[in-house]
Amino acid sequence: MTQVTADTSSSPRWQSWSVPAWVEIVLVVASSSLLLLLLVWGLAIEGSSQFALFCLLAVLAAFVGSKLGVWDWLKGIYHSHRRVALFMAFLLPLAFPFTQNGDGYWLRVFASIGVFAAAAVGLNIVIGLAGLLDLGFIAFFGVGAYAGALLSNAAFTTVHVHLPFILVVLIGACMAALFGLLIGAPTLRLRGDYLAIVTLGFGEIFRITVNNWDGLTRGPNGISGIPDLNLFGFDFGVAHTFLGVELPGFANYFFLEVFLIGAVALVFVRLNGSRIGRAWVAIREDEVAAAAMGVNVVALKLLAFGIGAFMAGAAGVLNAHVASQVSPDSYTFLESILIVAAVVLGGMGTVPGAILGSSLLFIIPEKLRAFQDKRLLLFGAALVLLMRFRPEGLIASKRRRAELHRGQTEEPGTVMADLDISSGQPGLPPSVVEPVVAADAPAGPRTVPNG
């Protein structure tokens, strides 16, 4: 986020300067490397107040940058050198463990962030692309985690089998997807807000079941002593020395997660650009219109739900190994809210958004110990303020932004502006554009006008 603001003092004319391609590539590499350096530097800051100051400066720099148009300019450059940018996006996370001098503290935190971020990208398909609010998403994560715990011969397992990790990931993910379809099939034909409550209910049912099913899950004690991963003879639990730098055990998990997130992100991006992705957008915008255009609404919603759950399940299996234990307290409603908050905060419908959101939600409380207790309070307030002032999140998808800011300032040329049916009457003040009541709505005195 934080970028050099020194070179922005010149007039906006600099934005139209044409520079040779190699300069732009150097700029991409330099600016993204600077980001990593700033992150490493920020993490090394001791003391809550200094870190708060650092965050404040970062926010300020981000704000100034956006006012001066630096971000749009950089975005353009990143866009024209997508391959370089993508390469850096992979390289820099992989470089991160080498900056820690063998210290495992932040790598442990980042390993937790990694699984959470992978799940958040999965949830982003459900929320960001298909527009379905899932308030029990952590249950799918939990299904995966319990599958991972039970099938890899943990010290306290109740099922004494040890399957290969790849198989366990598939089983965990498929089980989560199955649950997703089971819960989704009857409810996805309902309106969105019912879905939110039913998924919330499912999340609670999962937690209570896990809490009570002593024979399988050991109830509130959970299952601990989950062994470290061992892939092809490579033990994830021990430190390795690579290029003369000692990498603690968590670095192994972190590397694996970078690839997992990469895979999840690839699925996300490919889906988003496909016919399916466009159908999801259509459903999100207006279900009735989408159905009228021949979109199979229920099947596609179910697909989004299933894919999201699948990804969460896969992330959950990995989480079991990273955390080395699973217990019902890790899969409460609040965790579901956290993951929704990560997606909403970062930006609905974008991969970097989900990753940034999850990182912030983990790093900030970890650094601001003084605020640890007030973490949830701040989340609550942040959700409200965000919806009020920047509903598209920190890293917004263009479409989402157009959608969420309709009725305010409709920038010319925004993607969805002309597709927006319900408030598509230009010239009417927003207050006039209320939900329209369908003509066949029953005329009972207290019925809901919902069509």
Binding site: T187, I197, V198, I205, L377, A382, V448
Partner: protein, 307 residues
Amino acid sequence: MDQFLQQLVNGIVLGATYGLIALGYTMVYGIIELINFAHGEIFMIGAFSGLTVYNILPESIQANYAVALPIVLLFAMLGSVVVAVLVERLAYRPLRNAPRLAPLITAIGVSIFLQESVRLFYPGAKAPLPFPRLIPEGQLVLGGVEIPWVSVFTVAVAITLMVILQLFIRKSKTGKAMRATAQDVDTARLMGINTNKIIVTTFVIGAILAAVAGVLQGMRFKEVDFNMGFIAGIKAFTAAVLGGIGNLPGAMVGGFVIGIVEAMATQYIPYGSAWKDVWAFVVLIAVLVMRPSGLLGTGSRTQAAPA
């Protein structure tokens, strides 16, 4: 048989509270189609406001239930109403025309915010706090069924409030305006109804009912907790959906059904008490699958609304 009747009574008492909260959900949803996630917290704040006032009262008044109870109820309502109106004004109203997801996420944020505010800033609220009973101990014995007076009072108050609410909605001018707004906000505005005022009124009525429910629950369980609103709110919402959302008598019926199901399941299903919070969700899913418009609801609610 006695055991069955006893559980039936327990369920009705439980359901009376759920029904009172459910009315708030159903009215707000009926008018602005928002699942007011924070409504459970309004219920909790009612209980805490009542407790605060009770603790301030001098001991002589505390002991005199006939004086203390109305004061506690009044201030509980006041606390809930103030918070509910603030929430409506600051969080929901600016999003009146936003896509549906935005107000729902805001509601979740408000819910967390209120819950955490009480937990962090109300003295001693990190653990459950004792609540006075304010009703003479002892019980009404009907055959083999024992009903504590506080439960009798709970059901009596709940039913009275429902009747008053029903009369208010049916007979009063404001009630008529509320019905009109629920049917069609635009047309209601064109007919000269100040719809913003009606929406606030809806929130106020919902908050009053929730506050009463909060005090009643505090009196019955003799304690209040900062997270009491979450699960009660979910069950009440289930009750509202069960009865047919937007339908006032439906919310009450739904509340009673949920209460009775919970009481019966606890008694008759093995290990029932460990699972007691599950039944509401099971009922909810079953209802949504089989009769999405609810028991007393009309029309289909399975289609998408205009975004």
